[in-house]
């Protein structure tokens, strides 16, 4: 069949069902930011900058902990058709779920009355941009020196041509039967983001969750390696 997305066990980009796309993270790419990162995950190219902890605006003050804010934004040139630069409803929802995915990992009680901003800019989008944004943002928060219980990493699983597959690319995301991004805090065995659309049986859902968790372990190694690369060279923070 012409429209098959999996042929002889290989996907449109040549991967096996349980294979991740190439993933690369750089830390400390923006001088002015408290922390920053750049991720390439498949064709996704995303930068994340962290500002703060800095004084909250008068209305947003929380006297017990820092306020975490997140903006996920897609550049107008990031998609096939030009994207209107105004934030869409999709971007507003994704900003919220990214914030909810990162917040459990952070020890915000250390910085009452302040705000920490996470700015995510998607320069080029591919399937799984929210997952890649979370993976990169967690690294950027570590680079900013925000105390955390664990890194957070995210990846999507889904169903394509009736097969469970890991880390959906653009075409699989659009034409596959289902898409389920998941974010983990592996140290605590916790899930901090979970969304799904499409159709899956209960068994597929459970198997997908386990597949995502295995992949998250690999992504965490790449995150740690990226942080080590910056900090083991003896560079001072913000000198990058």
């Amino acid at each position: 069949m012409e429209n098959q997305l999996i042929v002889n066990g290989k996907r449109t980009d040549g991967r096996s069902p349980t294979e991740l796309r190439p993933l690369k993270i750089d830390v400390g790419i923006i001088k002015n930011a408290a922390g920053s990162s750049y991720i390439e995950h498949g064709k996704n190219k995303i930068i994340v900058a962290i500002y703060g902890p800095r004084d909250s605006h008068r209305y947003g003050i929380n006297i017990e902990r820092a306020t975490l804010r997140c903006r996920y934004h897609m550049s107008p040139f990031s998609t096939e058709e030009r994207k209107n630069p105004q934030p869409s409803r999709r971007e507003i929802e994704i900003s919220k779920v990214i914030r909810d995915a990162l917040e459990p990992s952070l020890i915000l009680e250390n910085f009452p009355k302040t705000t920490i901003d996470v700015f995510v800019e998607v320069l080029q989008s591919d399937g799984g941009s929210r997952s890649a944004s979370i993976t990169a943002a967690s690294v950027a928060l570590a680079d900013a020196g925000i105390p955390m219980k664990d890194l957070v990493e995210a990846v999507a699983v889904g169903k394509v041509d009736g097969t469970l597959v890991l880390d959906l690319n653009d075409i699989e995301d659009k034409k596959g039967e289902s898409d389920m991004p998941v974010a983990f805090m592996l140290n605590e065995n916790k899930i901090t983001l979970l969304q799904m659309d499409g159709k899956m049986t209960v068994e597929e859902f459970k198997a997908g969750l386990m597949m995502a968790m295995e992949a998250a372990k690999k992504i965490k190694e790449i995150q740690k390696e990226a942080l080590t690369r910056k900090y083991s060279s003896g560079e001072r923070k913000n000198d990058a």
């Binding site: 909810d100 459990p104 899930i191 209960v202």
Partner: protein, 272 residues
Amino acid sequence: MMPRKNLLVSAVRKEQIIKSLAQGKRVDGRGLLDYRPLNITPNIIEKAEGSAFVKLGDTHVITGVKIGVGTPFPDTPNEGILIVNAEILPTASEYQEPGPPDEDSIELARVVDRGIRESKMIDFSKLVIEPGKHVYTVYVDISVIGMDGNLFDAASYAAVVALMTTKFYPLINQNGTLVKGSEKIPLPIQDLGVSTTFAKVDNYIIVDPTWEEESIMEARLTIVYDKNGNICAVQKGGNGGLLVDDVLKIVDLAKSKSEEMRKVLEGVISNA
């Protein structure tokens, strides 16, 4: 000022809520896996093609369905259009301010939309008047008029009941002009996605959280099941995490709970 998402729950009250959960009871007398009384009144807005008023405890949601005519999206010339919009009205609580939809309203609309779309509830291929030119647009507008937690399920039930009971005048293409048909028809309904929402408070998993419970929860999980027992939409919310084992447990609990709620919704629809 930013609207308040969480109530300020005193330490004493929180302790009371958790102590009660430890004894298998909610502070309002429910069991951990009981819904509040659910009251659904379909067809309460005569001028809407479909409508429903849902009272889930003190969470009150009204949804109206309007049918319009639109141009199909270029990539789906042979499909009708679904537009879901939600607004948490300033009537809903003393903290809600008037203004454009905030992120909570947008998330609410998008999760309800996903449940309808992904369960394949409506056969959009049957909502075409002239391929590539004219299709029906189904507008689902959700208004939260009173809030006491679990807006997702209340809004979802209001939306699906309004859609199931929608009746509208078809438009017929007569020599290039669209003429209104003489008899109202229902929407081409082929499934019913049923949403259930669970929350983790302290170490306990509860269903249908109140606002007070949501304010002290770790996180919540909304799951939509279709009529064949497939999962078709999931959304985790809240600024905490859920243990992997909790998620696995909730998926099973949600399946049996959704079957129970499906009977309730079907009862309402067959009596409408």
